[in-house]
């Protein structure tokens, strides 16, 4: 049947191709949110001049102009650079960023007659670990980007960044173990499904409700992993000029730049799925929505909810960036190892002991 082939194509070819495109388009929007958000917080107007035939659209044309500028700028390569690795590094930071979004569910399984279409590229039974494994590869792009141009500032930026990413990866990994204990699954879709339950009959059983400390630690670690202020030491322009992407220009620079925003979107999507109920609309389970307006509307509403939550978190990222100053390097390290790590361990301990005290087992 041709419709079988259609469904198969949708699941196996369309989603994996469309998701990166959506993410990269999201980068344009993210840059706009960032620049206009910065202006809003600093009480100025921000970019609003670029227009196509007078169509300004609140500065939304600005990122397109930025992208064009980056594309046509001169490509520069330092004389002593290691050419191959210099080319490889931006790709190595872009690919893991795009790959990690593949296991994040953006809607409940869409049931159309006898067809079941999961709104997710790959429903792995090790989904959470997949994100960690692939995200840990992103550090190579930064390390090689710092080393290959043979510049002391960029190598300092690369070393700082990798030390930071390794340190906070540990607290990040430990901070979600509480969530895994509570929801008893590593499959992201199961975790989201279970967040549709209600606690005491009215409170959505979101990760943030059952694991507030875990959420806080994970959120801070996510800020550090994406190199955002207050953890943007890898590029601290006042100390090491621009860090690991100092020698990059034109499209290679924009690859690093886009990877940062894609990483932010992945981090937001991951936080939403683990702690903020994913695609779940509070107090409105899938069955209710399907009964109300049919499966397609239900799926659209859930995807919309997921997108809304994701962009809310993106806004929080921007909000934090333009509100807080930067950490000093020793403060960064002592926060990671002396505060976050013990807290994460304590969180695991408390989470695993509470069910016994309450007599759940």
């Amino acid at each position: 049947m041709w419709i079988d082939y259609l469904v198969w194509t949708l699941q196996n070819l369309l989603f994996p191709l469309v998701i990166p495109v959506v993410l990269l388009t999201g980068v344009i929007l993210a840059v706009w949110v960032e620049r206009r958000g910065a202006a809003f917080i600093q009480d100025r107007v921000g970019p609003n001049r670029v227009h196509i035939f007078g169509f300004r659209n609140a500065g939304l044309m600005q990122p397109i102009a930025d992208a064009l500028k980056l594309l046509v700028k001169e490509e520069f390569m330092p004389e002593k650079a290691d050419r191959f690795l210099f080319f490889l590094a931006p790709a190595l930071s872009m690919i893991p960023a795009l790959l990690t979004f593949m296991v994040i569910p953006f809607g409940d399984v869409l049931v159309l007659g006898k067809y079941e279409i999961p709104l997710q590229v790959a429903d792995l039974n090790v989904g959470v670990l997949f994100i960690f494994a692939i995200a840990s590869l992103g550090v190579f792009g930064v390390v090689l980007g710092g080393w290959s141009p043979d510049n002391k500032y960029s190598i300092l930026g690369g070393l700082r960044s990798s030390a930071q990413m390794i340190s906070y990866e540990i607290s990040m990994g430990l901070s979600i173990i509480g969530i895994l204990i509570v929801f008893e699954s590593v499959r992201l879709n199961d975790i989201v499904q279970m967040q549709g339950d209600l606690l005491f009959g009215f409170l959505p059983r979101w990760g943030i409700v059952v694991q507030p400390v875990g959420f806080l630690l994970f959120f801070i670690a996510a800020l550090a992993e994406t190199n955002r202020i207050p953890f943007d030491l890898p590029e601290a322009e006042a100390e090491i000029v621009a860090g690991y992407h100092l020698e990059y220009s034109s499209f290679k620079f924009s690859m690093f730049f886009m990877a940062e925003y894609v990483n932010m979107m992945v981090a937001s999507g991951f936080i939403v799925s683990l702690f903020l109920g994913g695609w779940q609309i509070p107090w409105a389970p899938t069955e209710m929505l399907v009964e109300w307006k049919g499966p397609l509307v239900a799926a659209a509403l859930q995807v919309g909810m997921f997108v809304f939550k994701l962009w809310f978190l993106m806004w929080v990222f921007v909000w934090i960036r333009w509100t807080l100053p930067r950490f000093r390097y020793d403060q960064l390290m002592s926060l990671g190892w002396r505060v976050m790590l013990p807290l994460a361990l304590a969180n695991i301990f408390v989470t695993s002991i509470v069910p016994f005290v309450l007599g759940v087992y």
């Binding site: 690795l85 490889l88 670990l129 997949f130 494994a133 692939i134 190579f140």
Partner: protein, 169 residues
């Protein structure tokens, strides 16, 4: 069919990458090739439905250990002069001969089982639940002993790098 194609692709890339590890002149390239080799092996694990093993391979070896190795290599930043010339020594020839012999022996042993009939896997094979159950029941003692060993290594590393008060500076 598709699985077989992917297997051969990843197997070939694992072998090519492994050869690149030992033949590259620049240690950074060796390290990069080793990452490629580890990723290929992880992909083969994933094809054999050992998803957890595949991800642990990527997370622990490719993601963590290789970063540290790259760190050290970059801080040493060896120039071509320091690396010395490519020479053929008795030691190297012997090593190559021994490795060749071991690989040949292994191949001979393994090909005996190559045509064994494929047995159906448990659907839970390789899942986190299954691996966890086995680790905490059948292999509990070795598992705990390994964790003690790792703890000793961690404490050792902390003790070695710790500065006594008034030491240095």
């Amino acid at each position: 069919m598709i699985q077989a194609i992917f297997f051969y692709v990843f197997a070939a890339s694992a072998v090519v990458m492994a050869l690149a590890v030992v033949s590259a002149r620049n240690p950074i390239y060796s390290a990069m090739a080793l990452i490629g080799c580890l990723l290929s092996v992880a992909s083969i694990f994933a094809l054999q439905s050992a998803h957890l093993m595949a991800l642990l391979q990527v997370m622990v070896y490719a993601g963590a250990i290789m970063v540290l190795i790259l760190f050290v290599l970059m801080l040493l930043n060896l120039s071509p002069q320091e690396l010395g010339e490519r020479r053929v020594t008795v030691r190297r020839v012997t090593g190559a001969y021994l490795i060749g012999a071991i690989v040949t022996l292994l191949m001979v042993r393994l090909t005996k089982h190559l045509w064994a009939p494929a047995s159906a896997l448990d659907p839970n094979f390789g899942t986190i639940e299954e691996v966890g159950m086995i680790l905490y029941t059948k292999y509990l003692l070795p598992f705990e002993m390994v964790s003690l060993l790792l703890l000793a290594a961690i404490i050792g590393a902390v003790v070695l790098t710790r500065k006594e008060k008034g030491d240095g500076q």
